[in-house]
């Protein structure tokens, strides 16, 4: 069979010159959207209630910047608690020990059932239960009474509950513990998404369960874990506004609202809040992009493209076998 690429009688045919399909719908959509955008811009510019100059003058004032820092600190610490505890709870949930499994289930059940707002207020009021929180031998008084010692106390250290459990720590615990329940489910799904054969291969090489989890399973699970964790982080950024009810005052939304109600310029400060949250979530999105790219290593197109480049740089073609498959 001859392939007639170079035979003179079979010249290359004319490029196709067809009338392209028209898309009148697109033009209608552009017109409609154009009008709507124009109306919106008109509203932003002409409506005096926005009071832009006031907003710009006030949205970067020191107490509000302190609020931004407070919100970010709360976001970082509560997500850290959420992720670390979430891994622990997810591993417990997947363990062979039925007691650990039960505890993990109960934890997830409780913290997913109670709204974060309720948790925030509840943690803010835990000081009602105890004046001081102390660490030491449990049931020390009761044990002392059993042996006939009055007021036996075996406590190592303690602190005033009202000092610690109001404000930032209470808010951080409420958000972090609640987040751990959600993160546990995300991480469990990630771990279970990794092929069983990976664990078997690692076992066959003599790795222990901890090593397999750390080095083989979790890195692969990250691909499944990172996108919903990005979601959770953005949700958490918004939920930091709930700690105003603990109450915590070093928090973005509380500070913006305080300015608004003090100056009777409520609406501009709400717009300022919108802009601040948009800005902060955009930063988080960028972070998520890089994380996802990192954990896609070796899997899917991104990894392949990168390695193809490396392969070209080395100048190595496939000597054995038939080049890259898949």
């Amino acid at each position: 069979m001859s392939v007639g690429t170079d035979s003179p009688e079979r010249a290359r045919p004319e490029p196709i010159q067809a009338v392209p399909v028209r898309h009148p719908g697109r033009w209608v959509a552009v017109a409609v959207i154009g009008v709507l955008v124009a109306m919106f811009v008109h509203l932003l510019v002409t409506n005096q209630a926005f009071n832009w100059s006031f907003m710009v003058d006030n949205m970067f004032r020191p107490p509000i910047m302190a609020g931004v820092r407070g919100s970010i600190a709360l976001l970082v610490t509560s997500m850290l608690i959420g992720i670390v505890l979430g891994v622990v709870i997810a591993v417990m949930r997947l363990s062979e020990n039925p007691i650990l499994r039960g505890v993990s289930w109960a934890y997830t059940w409780f913290f997913r059932a109670v709204p974060r707002l309720v948790l925030a207020i509840l943690f803010g009021n835990l000081g009602i239960l105890w004046a001081r929180i102390e660490f030491g031998l449990p049931f020390d008084r009761q044990i002392g009474a059993l042996f006939g010692i009055q007021d036996f106390e075996a406590r190592l250290f303690g602190f005033s509950a009202v000092d610690i459990l109001t404000g930032f720590v209470a808010g951080m615990l409420a958000l972090g513990l609640s987040e751990a329940a959600y993160m546990a489910e995300i991480i469990r799904a990630g771990i279970q998404s990794v092929d069983e054969g990976q664990t078997e291969a690692a076992q066959a090489l003599g790795m222990t369960r901890g090593q397999i989890l750390r080095r083989i399973v979790l890195p692969q699970a990250m691909r499944v874990i990172v996108p919903p964790t990005g979601n959770e982080t953005i949700a958490m950024l918004k939920d930091t506004s709930l700690v105003a009810f603990v109450p915590v005052s070093a928090e973005l939304f509380f500070q913006l609202r305080a300015v608004g109600s003090r100056t009777f310029q409520v609406f501009p400060m709400l717009v300022a809040a919108t802009i601040w949250y948009l800005l902060l979530s955009s930063v988080l999105l960028v972070g998520q992009y890089y994380l996802e790219r990192h954990f896609a290593k070796g899997i899917g197109r991104a990894g392949q493209a990168k390695a193809r480049l490396r392969g070209m740089a080395v100048g190595g073609g496939g000597v054995t076998g038939g080049g890259g498959g898949v």
Binding site: D195, G197, Q198, E200, A201, A202, Q203, A204, L205, G206, M207, T208, R209, Q211, R215, I216, P219, Q220, F295, K297, G298, I299, G300, G303, Q304, A307, R308, R310, G311, V314, G316, V319, T320, G321, G322, G323, G324, G325, V326
Partner: protein, 269 residues
Amino acid sequence: MTGVTVPGQAGVPAAESGPMVHAEQVHKSFGSIEVLKGIDLQVRAGEVCCLLGPSGSGKSTFLRCINHLEKINAGWIRVDGELIGYRERGGKLHEMREKEVAAQRRAIGMVFQRFNLFPHKTALENVTEAPLLVRREKRAEVRDRAAALLERVGLGDKLGNYPSQLSGGQQQRVAIARALAMKPKLMLFDEPTSALDPELVGEVLDVMKDLARDGMTMIVVTHEIGFAREVGDSLVFIDGGVVVESGNPREVIANPQHERTKTFLAKVL
């Protein structure tokens, strides 16, 4: 899980300088289904033993019992004189801790049908991972040995490639190098060429032949009759969870004694 019955209780023979792998009366059930119904097997050091049998016959399950990926319900398996998965103390068997089982597995390499390479690591990292993590060897030494092993399986130019950029045959050769990096005294192959395109089978079998020539003790679950005939020192035909027939591969293949062996060979030859 539930009480391992030891044949004759005190009947577990003492460690001896006998065969590399010695299995007696191995039983294994999944739920109510008994997959292995008393398998006996002896493999000498340096021997290549091929396990043949129809799918579902229990040959892969038996292979997985040898490195304790599956817990057996009765009988015993020794590798190089060491009882697998259990310790004998005062005439009683004690289940090994996870760490002890892991330590036993270091000396037993395993190659899987579906390769099971770590997709997030390059070919080189796949090979270096276990020696670095499990044997805690020096990085430079491990790297050199891994590169040499990959060179040996014909992948000296693919060190930096991820598994997804390698063909099936190349992946399986990386998997063999990965197992060899742990310096095993025994290699288990679970249908190593069954997931490969026909044109890629040869390159994997060549590596295995090379390994056999080097004197590695190998147990190979396979459908490659040609490989069994050419490289195998012994052939064990398993069906329905029992050893139906065993012996010299060339004799068994040329002149099977048992009816089931005959029908099986007639189908695959």
